[in-house]
Each structure stands twice: as structure tokens, then as C-alpha cells.
């Protein structure tokens, strides 16, 4: 079992290189450090590690052979599609990085069943452009156009990693296990015997194995295909944005309209954040640090403390009724519909919400960060009964840190408000020293621990192997079962061992 960073001798490196070249040809493998360093990590504080090999397979057979080479030589293999943002696909133990962006076909678009079958290299931009032509859309989220659909749909951070409609977008998956077994989930599993069977059903009378590979950070198999749910662009769309002066009332409003089935998605935006988004959209770059620095519970002027952005689409007659209903509920709770004022005072923010939620355009807006500062990500799935208290406490706790922390947040309704995604967005200055970053991370960790302990929240992302924390050990029997599954599927711990989400005692 791989338990630590692999150091390869020159001979072994050459041997593995030869074997990989035999499978891929010279063009789709690189050992050039200048190429490899591009796969050493992403924009997170996780350490950057230059892998030993980069491979770019073009089909499943090549993937199976590469997995075999990795197993035989006891070399880690980390799968990376676009490898954007999340540390899940950092090659922390070196070895082979498998870039799957070369497998980039849109294999099928099925309008009767409203799904598309795609490979990992299909990007959000290309996919949404194809769907545009037939008046359909996919869940776009906070994604720039150049990143992998599958990569980002399967690293969902608890199904939250998209904000234009947090839905269950994966209908089915095709995965190659470390031993070369090809697994297809849902109805497609039966294509092993009945080749005509399609991807129409996520379930198939057996346990739903999709979940095993979602948020698995590539540790249980290599995803080679996904059937993605797609959605029609309906006749009409609406986005009646309401404004409120406190988070608790915003939550109440969100709950009412979500559970009345008025909306497809709903989110709450703190004034600090819609101000930053306005700047970002207007000027194309992050807001100056001074904007971020204001106390989050004290607005600078009459702008609303929060805005609630619901998204709805359907028949025109429906929309008219839904808008009226939203107006009524907002008024009952002391709020008001804010669309015209938002357009006038924060046109960049309005444009962002419109492009994102109504037109489903991929966005570059978040890639530069909201502000000219380093963001931390204390994000949780919060218990609705306690989240308003968490917001109050969390803002004050994070703000009183000795570091200069800019602070705001946004919040999404998930599963009809059964849980609330709450992302606090503290920032530290870009010029902070390593020590200051460590202190900021310690504050960040304290916030999370309190959110879990006192407010019933749960984490949405795994923590990197270099951290002291081991989330899996806090999950009782769930964690025990997951470890057993990992040990069965990947006993040598070949697949992305460095992320160590199973806490196998790796160093």
C-alpha cells in the first residue's frame, strides 16, 4: 500500500516511461519538468508537488493499461480533468498524473430522456454552447467555460458546487476500477447483457453506486463517461429579487418560496458580496481590498443587508403568478422586490445574476476571486434551525481576528431548504506572510469546528492529507464502511493516495 511520497530511481523512472510510451505513443506522455509543473496543484494553499509523469489517454483501453502499470510499479496515479481550484486532484505523492481532457466527445444528446453522455474532456463552454442550439441548458454553476463538466460535477462539495441550480446532475457514470473492471451505473449497467440499454434511469433495483464515485477525489476509479441531466429552456424565466435587512428573515422568505415550489433555485447574498460582484462584473477584476474591509454587519449606506435571488422558469402564465406570489411573501415578511433598484445601483451584480441564473452562461467572474485578496473557504452545510445563529456568531468571530479579514457570505437553499449551504468569505491581504496565512487558517479551522460542534453544520470539502484533521474519523460507521470499500477496490492505494480522505495512516 502506498503510504508516502514516492521517490523513483532513475532506472525505475526510465522503465515506467518506456512502458507508458508503449501504451500511449510519445505524443501523449511527458516527463518534461516544465510540463509537469503545470500539474503540481492549483490555486489553493495545498503544497505544490511536481509529479513524475504526465499521461494523456485517449480511450478506456489505454486507461486500463496505465492503471496496470501504476499497480505493477507501485506508483501513485492521480486523475486530473481540468484540475481547477480543488485540491482533490493534486498529485501530493507524485507519480503519474492522468490528464483526461483528451477524451472529449459528446457521445449522445437524448432529448426524450433529457440527458447527454459526455467524456471528461468536454468543457462547460462547449457543452452549454451545444445545448444552446437545441434550447436546452446544463447546470452551469460558478464555472468558467474552459473547465471539465464531469470533473466539476463529480467534485461537488456535497452537491453544492454550482449555483445556477443545485441539482442532482449526474444520471449515471462509467468508471474504470484500479483492477481494470469497467463499471456502468444505473440502467446502463444492464447494457453488459442488453447492449441497447441506455442511461435513462439513475437506479436499477440495486444500491446506487453513483455516490461512490462522486466526491471520491478520484480515489476509487477513473471516470470515463457520465450521463448528465439536461434541462429545457422554458418559455419564460423570472428572477424577482427580494431585499431584507437581516439574514433570518431572508431565510424565512427563502424557505416559503422554495417549499411552495415556486423556484428552481434560491440563494441569499450578503451586501458585501453583491457589492464585490458588482465591482467584479463592472471592472472585470477583483474589488480593491478596502471595499472588503468594512464590518459586515454595518452597511455603508441604505443598500439592503441581504438580497434573495430566486430562479424560476416555465410557461409565461406561470411566471406571472409566481412573481406575484414572491411579491406577496416578501411584503408579508417586511421585505420588497428590489430588481429595478439593483439594476440601477449595482448594475454589474444584476448583470451577473441574470447571465448566471437566467441565461445559464458560464462565468469567468469568480476565477479572479471576488477581491484583490486571498480567500479562505469556511463553507458548511448548515442546519436550518441554527444557521441564522451561526451567521451572527460567525461574522463576529471571523471579523475580530487580529488579521485584516474582509468578510461577507452567500447562502443557498438545498433540497427544499432541508439544509443550507453557507459560505463565509473571509479574505486576508495578498501580501500576508506565511505566518499570517497560518494564523488565518487556524482561525478558519476554529470557525469550522465551532460550526460543527455547536451549530450542527457539516463540512463540504475534505481536508488535505497534510492537515491534522481527519474528517472521516468523525463519521462513525460511515467512515468504517468507506475505508473497507477503499481497501477492497484499491488495496495498493494507487489512486490519489496523497489526498488520504480515508485516513489510512499515510504520511
Amino acid at each position: 500500500m502506498i503510504r508516502e511520497r514516492v521517490k523513483l530511481s532513475k532506472q525505475k523512472r526510465e522503465k515506467i516511461s518506456r512502458e507508458l510510451r508503449r501504451v500511449l505513443g510519445a505524443k501523449n506522455i511527458s516527463t518534461n519538468p516544465a510540463v509537469l509543473v503545470g500539474y503540481s496543484g492549483s490555486a489553493t494553499v495545498a503544497p505544490k508537488i511536481v509529479p513524475d509523469f504526465l499521461v494523456k489517454p485517449q480511450n478506456i483501453e489505454q486507461i486500463k493499461k496505465i492503471l496496470n502499470i501504476a499497480k505493477k510499479n507501485k506508483v501513485p496515479l492521480t486523475v486530473m480533468a481540468s484540475g481547477t481550484q480543488d485540491a482533490a486532484t493534486h498529485p501530493i505523492f507524485g507519480g503519474i498524473v492522468m490528464d483526461t481532457m483528451g477524451m472529449n466527445k459528446i457521445l449522445e444528446i437524448n432529448l426524450d430522456s433529457a440527458y447527454a453522455v459526455i467524456e471528461p474532456g468536454v468543457t462547460i463552454g462547449r457543452f452549454s454552447k451545444e445545448l444552446d442550439k437545441i434550447d436546452y441548458h446544463c447546470t452551469v454553476g460558478s464555472f468558467p467555460p474552459s473547465i471539465s463538466v464531469i470533473g466539476n460535477y463529480t467534485q461537488t462539495a456535497c452537491n453544492t458546487h454550482r449555483s445556477s441550480g443545485i441539482r442532482d446532475d449526474i444520471l449515471g457514470l462509467e468508471v474504470v476500477l484500479p483492477d481494470g473492471t469497467l463499471v456502468q451505473t444505473g440502467s446502463k449497467a444492464f447494457s453488459a447483457t442488453y447492449p441497447q440499454t441506455g442511461w435513462h434511469s439513475a437506479s436499477n433495483s440495486f444500491p446506487d453506486l453513483r455516490g461512490l464515485f462522486i466526491d471520491a477525489c478520484g480515489t476509487l476509479g477513473v471516470i470515463t463517461k457520465a450521463a448528465i441531466r439536461i434541462y429545457p429552456k422554458n418559455e419564460a424565466q423570472a428572477m424577482p429579487i427580494a431585499s431584507f435587512e437581516d439574514y433570518a428573515t431572508s431565510l424565512e422568505y427563502m424557505k416559503k418560496i422554495v417549499r411552495a415550489n415556486l423556484v428552481q433555485h434560491c440563494s441569499i447574498w450578503h451586501w458585501g458580496l453583491y457589492t464585490m460582484i458588482d465591482h467584479l462584473q463592472t471592472f472585470g477584476q477583483g474589488a480593491p481590498f478596502e471595499i472588503v474591509l468594512t464590518d459586515p454587519w454595518e452597511k455603508p449606506d441604505e443598500r439592503p443587508y441581504t438580497i434573495v435571488v430566486p430562479v424560476m422558469s416555465g410557461y409565461r402564465e406561470d411566471m406571472e403568478g409566481h412573481i406575484k406570489a414572491c411579491e406577496k411573501v416578501a411584503k408579508e415578511l417586511g421585505g420588497r422586490i428590489y430588481n429595478e433598484e439593483l439594476k440601477e445601483k449595482f448594475p454589474g451584480a444584476y448583470q451577473f445574476y441574470e447571465e448566471h441564473f437566467i441565461h445559464h452562461y458560464p462565468t469567468r467572474a469568480f476565477m479572479g476571486g471576488y477581491a484583490e485578496a486571498m480567500p479562505l473557504f469556511p463553507i458548511v452545510l448548515a442546519d436550518p434551525t441554527k444557521v441564522a445563529s451561526l451567521e451572527k456568531w460567525g461574522l463576529r468571530f471571523l471579523r475580530k481576528s487580529p488579521l485584516k479579514l474582509g468578510l461577507s457570505y452567500y447562502s443557498h437553499s438545498l433540497d427544499q431548504n432541508r439544509t443550507i449551504f453557507l459560505r463565509m468569505t473571509p479574505y486576508i491581504e495578498a501580501t500576508s506572510t506565511d505566518n499570517e496565512i497560518k494564523r488565518a487558517l487556524a482561525v478558519h479551522q476554529k470557525y469550522l469546528e465551532e460550526a460543527y460542534r455547536k451549530y450542527g453544520a457539516v463540512p463540504i470539502r475534505n481536508i488535505y492529507a497534510t492537515s491534522e484533521e481527519r474528517n472521516i474519523d468523525k463519521t462513525g460507521g460511515f467512515g468504517i464502511l468507506l475505508k473497507k470499500i477503499k481497501n477492497t477496490i484499491d488495496p495498493e492505494n494507487i489512486l490519489n493516495p496523497g489526498i488520504d480522505i480515508y485516513h489510512q495512516g499515510v504520511r
Partner: protein, 389 residues
Amino acid sequence: MALKCTNEETHLYMCPRCKCCTISKDLRVIPICPSYQYYDYFSHSGGGKLYIAQGLLRKLIDFSPEIARIVYQCHLCGACKELCPPGFETIEIFRDLRRELVDRGLAPLGKQKSLISNIKKYNNPYGNAYINKEKWTEGLNPLKKIADDKSSVIYYSGCAPAYDKKSAQISKNIAFLLQKAKVDFAILGNDENCCGSIPLELGDISLFKKLARKNIKMINNSGAELVITSCPHCYEIFNKEYPEIDSLNFEVMHTTEFLERQIDKGKLKITKKTNLVATYHDPCHLGRYSNVYKSPRNILKSIKGLKLLEMERNKEQAYCCGSGTGVKSVFPDFSQFTGKERLNEAKKTGAHVIITACPYCQNQFSELNHSSNKKIKIIDIHDLLAESI
């Protein structure tokens, strides 16, 4: 190593690998980075080269010929800088990288070395045969030289007219247009030094600074108040880079900006009509580097009968011609790939003519057009304007 722009502070702004630097902004899937499109490795994108810089700063990788190849397999077209959401100063960082590689003897590469040695020996990148910078004035009435006669305006022709007939014709036409507009101007003639664009782009910063200081001093001493140039590379160097070296006692304009003004003032009257259906290619150093988009288009609008069709990738998102930064001399296949991509895009508009405002773009398109099955006419904007007067 101290990369000027990539200091320890910016490690906090690590590139998220979003690859927004490789596709155009509004069009979602259209490639904009020739290096990434051709070589198909993240390392070749704007972001990828930032990772190389980070890797070197953090000693994850060492300087090597392999790194030099990747760093120089780039036209420095500036698209990545334009499109980068975090706003990385990619061009400045890449220039720094090249400087470091030159200082370590790993660059320039191959034939690029002779470009530098030619500038050092002959004051132009093309060598001994092209030493006569006044050659383009042959056949014209003698033009005023700044060394002999004061003038408030200097026309700086750049190196291209001395070695290339088409570029020489452009300069001839510019002289004609200036005279038509009754502009009192002078040239530097054989006193004209190379602007230093090539050394800057190839990483020989000390040569660039030497040329810059020389040029600034000469022009400051001449008493001229305005330098106009038709070469976008020279324009960008004078306008953006020289002020970092020393203070300028003169303004700088591109000839399209200057001629647009003459048209507006009524000093140049467009009398002839045309039925051209044309598209305009934004040169990288005039467009993205210098933000000059309107002036060439206004000139084209004023030409009667000309129908202008924009390419899908235009203005800030124009695709490079593939000629720049010494890439052609070392990676000719890559240079040709880039140029053909742009040429095909021009042809797709349905235009019969591609108009440009850069002698290097013009040369590149002309060479590639020559070997292409479906041809399109290549015209420089100054030539077109001169024909319309």
C-alpha cells in the same frame, strides 16, 4: 532569482488553472492562445507559464533548455493577459522569465541569436545587407532629416522598411499622406536606431535599455514634440516601455491615430470610392498592447464604399498573426499554424481583403497566402488610405 513581477507576494494569487487564458471571452469555446492550441499542453498556456515561473521561484524545477523552449514557444500576443480573470501581468512575467533564461545562457534560441547580434552590429535585426535605413525614401522628393532641420514631428519608420519592399512602400505612402496633409515632419534617416522591441521580447534587457536610452536622448535633443510611427512594435516600445527607462520630452502616436486626426480636421480628403469588402486584423501590439482599436476602424469607415466585416475574434480578442517575438525563426511550423488559423478566419468572413496596420502581420499573411489555395488580398491600411486620397 528575482522575477520582477512574480515575487513572493504573488504566490498567494496562484493561478487556478481555469484556462480562461486560452479561450475568447464571449464566445465560450473559440481558442485564443496559439501556443496552447498548437502544443496542447497546459504548460504552453498563459497559466501554464505562470506555473513554470512559480516552480522556478519555489525551486520545484530548475532552469533548463526544455523550459526555454516552452517559454519561447509563445508569440507574446498578450491574449492571456487580456483574458486572465485574476489579472496576472503575464507578459511582464514572461519577459522576466526570458531575461532570466538569457542571463543563464539558455536563450535566445537558434536563429534568434542572430537577430540580437545583428542589432548589436548593424542597428537592425536583418543584418548587413539592410543597413541603409533611408532606402525606403528612394524615388521620393528628399525628406527633411531631423539632424539637419528642426521639426516638431518625427516619422519613425522602424526597421522593416529597410529590408522589405512592401514595408518600404507603406512608409512611402505614409510620407505621401503626411505631405498631402501638409504636416511638417522629418525622419531620422540612417541615424534611426532599432527601437529595441526584439531584444526586449527575446530577453536581452541590457541591449533594450541601451537602445532605449540612445533613442530617448536623440529625440529629446532633437526638439521634436511628437513621434509618429507605423510599426506597432515600435509604437508600443516608445509609448509604454521607454517612459520606464527615462522621461520623454515628446508624445508618441501611431500613424493611424495621427492620420485619423488629419481626416477629422479636413486636412486629408478621401475622394476616391472603392467597392472593397474587407476585414481588419488587429495587430497585437497596436490593439491589446496599446489599446488602439478605433482609429484604424474610423479610417476604414471614412473610405467611401468600403464594407467592413469583423472577424469573430476581433479587437481585444483578436487572434495573433504568428509573426512576432522571433518565433518564426525558431519554430516555423508553429508560426505558420498561427498565421493560417488567422488567415482562414479572415476568409470565413467572406471578405476579399484583409487589412492590417503592421508590417510584420502583412508579411506573415502575404507569405502564407502565397501558398494557400484560396487567396485573399492583403493590404496595409496606409496603402489603402493613400490610394483613396
